[in-house]
Amino acid sequence: MLTLSQVVIRDRTNDTSCVARDGFCPDWIRDHIGDYMSPLLRHLELTVASVVAGFAIAFALALLAHRRRWLTGPITGVTGVMYTIPSLALFAILLPITGFGFVTGVVALTSYNLLVIFRNIMAGLDNVPEAAKDAASGMGMTDRQRLWRVELPLAIPEIVAGVRVATTTTVGLAALAFVAGAGGLGQKIIEAQNFKSNIVTASVLCILLAAVLDLLILFGERTALPWRRATSS
């Protein structure tokens, strides 16, 4: 005998609920906010990995350019080109090289950070007052000691400003990492493109993530540089 299915079927012809109309529904958001946690974590991972990698590379480049001034132009030029390339295009260009996934996302996002951080480290070092450098040399420090004990610490505010800009920018850009198969909040956005609650929730989480990271970096700078508490940015 034919056993009929027992799936319950609902009449939706007059369904005017908020969710059915793809609207902005605080109740739905409250119930489903947990679904956004994993993409949020992935978004955070993408950002942190890219900023750390970008900083490491930019710092190395800056030390090089500090020693050999003529390198500043070429480095700025190359990182500038990488910065200009639209992110969607860069993800697509990297796909044949690094494939789909987290790595492609990080590589692309890292390349966007290089110019900003590099420029700020260079500017920070350039702005160290001559008096401080003279005093250091006068105290008998070698060039290297002067760099690490005097110039870099004095350049920290400028460097941190660059890292802050890089971080907030990367959070915004990482929303496109889904093109490279790297996940993140952008993936969540396109999964329900019409659902306004979804778009708003993911975007607000993005902005909040940027704000929190920005605050954390600021807090880190404050703790590391107690003598600068009196001055403003």
Partner: protein, 340 residues
């Protein structure tokens, strides 16, 4: 200065959220399943009690656990996600080791992944297979599902892929209009009646639809008329374009719940240029052999309940109620008695 910029960010966030909330309407709590109202298609439970439900229950066979892990894939829209989940969860209940790789992309990508061994199985529509993979012209495709299936099965066998028997439901591409556009076009019942007006209308479909014989290409060839404008949008927007008035005709799926919910008009394909669209679960020959006889048995078992009204209901739960495909698949399996 620093405090101010942080404050500014936070306050802007607060303002944005409040503005968006002000733009919202009264909200209802998440919809729960209620018994079907009178007059709609409702399935009634079988008269037998618990003992007769047992033959439907999927039996967990420990032997299946020692077969190689199965990767189940699916294409990139709601119905495919649900099907992929149903098959994957059913196989898991039968004791197989299952990995899911849903959301592969369009059929070209999915078929490539299947042939390449990235996935072991995924559900495909028999009509799509014939026109897109085997380049059969729309007019040459058999309109009877079983006949079309036989053709497809033979072709798939050449590629060392087994096409398992068809699902009861068919999900065809449909051409829908909003009530307003439909009345404005003279309330045509069939596509032929609308064809003379094609050159005044905007058609909307997925990006792939532009080049498909079972979509824009096919309808223009079969009915001998071209549309004024084509608006390619993501699949998820196929009903929104109608309710927004962006498009006069939109390519929808006949199992979409939104058709009934939005009171859209589905035009009849009187020239029958659309092939049948029952689903066949495609499996690599090697994977099927390694999995043993239970694989096909479980798939046959769990497909039986997938009639067109049921598929519409499941799609609605994801698209309209915004539930997750995984949860909807599980609900289907439990409500139908396949798993506890």
């Amino acid at each position: 200065m620093r405090h101010r910029s942080i404050l500014s960010v936070l306050s802007t966030v607060a303002v944005v959220t409040t503005l968006a909330a002000c733009g919202s309407d009264d909200n209802d709590s998440a919809s729960t399943s209620t018994p079907a109202a009178a007059g709609t298609t409702a399935s009634t439970a079988s008269t037998s009690a618990a003992p007769a439900a047992d033959p439907k229950l999927i039996v967990n066979n420990p032997e299946n656990g020692s077969t190689p892990q199965l990767t189940i894939g699916s294409k990139n829209f709601t119905e495919q996600f649900i099907l992929g989940e149903i098959y994957a969860q059913a196989l898991q209940a039968a004791g197989y080791k299952v990995k899911k790789q849903l959301n592969l992309g369009s059929e070209q990508i999915a078929y490539k992944a299947l042939k390449g061994g990235q996935v072991d199985a995924y559900p495909e529509y028999v009509g799509t297979a014939l026109t897109n993979f085997f380049k059969v012209k729309s007019e040459d495709v058999p309109k009877e599902p079983e006949a079309a299936f036989t053709d497809a099965k033979t072709e798939f066998a050449k590629a060392k892929v087994t096409a398992l028997p068809l699902t009861p439901f068919t999900d065809s591409n449909g051409f829908a209009m909003s009530q307003a556009s439909w009345k404005k076009a003279g309330s045509p019942k069939t596509i032929s009646e609308l064809a003379p007006k094609f050159n005044t209308l905007t058609l909307s479909g997925s990006p792939e639809c532009r080049s498909r014989l079972d979509c824009k290409l096919g309808i223009e060839e079969s009915y001998g008329a071209k549309f004024k404008k084509y608006l390619p949008v993501d699949l998820s927007k196929r009903h929104e374009v109608l309710s927004n008035g962006q498009a006069d005709v939109s390519v929808v799926f006949t199992t979409d719940g939104a058709i009934a919910a939005n009171k859209e008009v589905l035009l009849e394909d009187d020239k029958k240029f659309l092939p049948p669209y029952n689903v066949s679960f495609l499996v690599r020959d090697s994977s099927l052999q390694a999995a043993g006889p239970d694989f096909e048995k479980v798939i046959d078992q769990v497909q039986e309940g997938l009639t067109t009204p049921v598929m519409q209901e499941l799609n609605s739960r994801v698209d309209l109620d915004k539930q997750k495909p995984e949860a909807v698949a599980k609900a289907y399996l439990t409500e139908s008695g396949y798993i506890k």
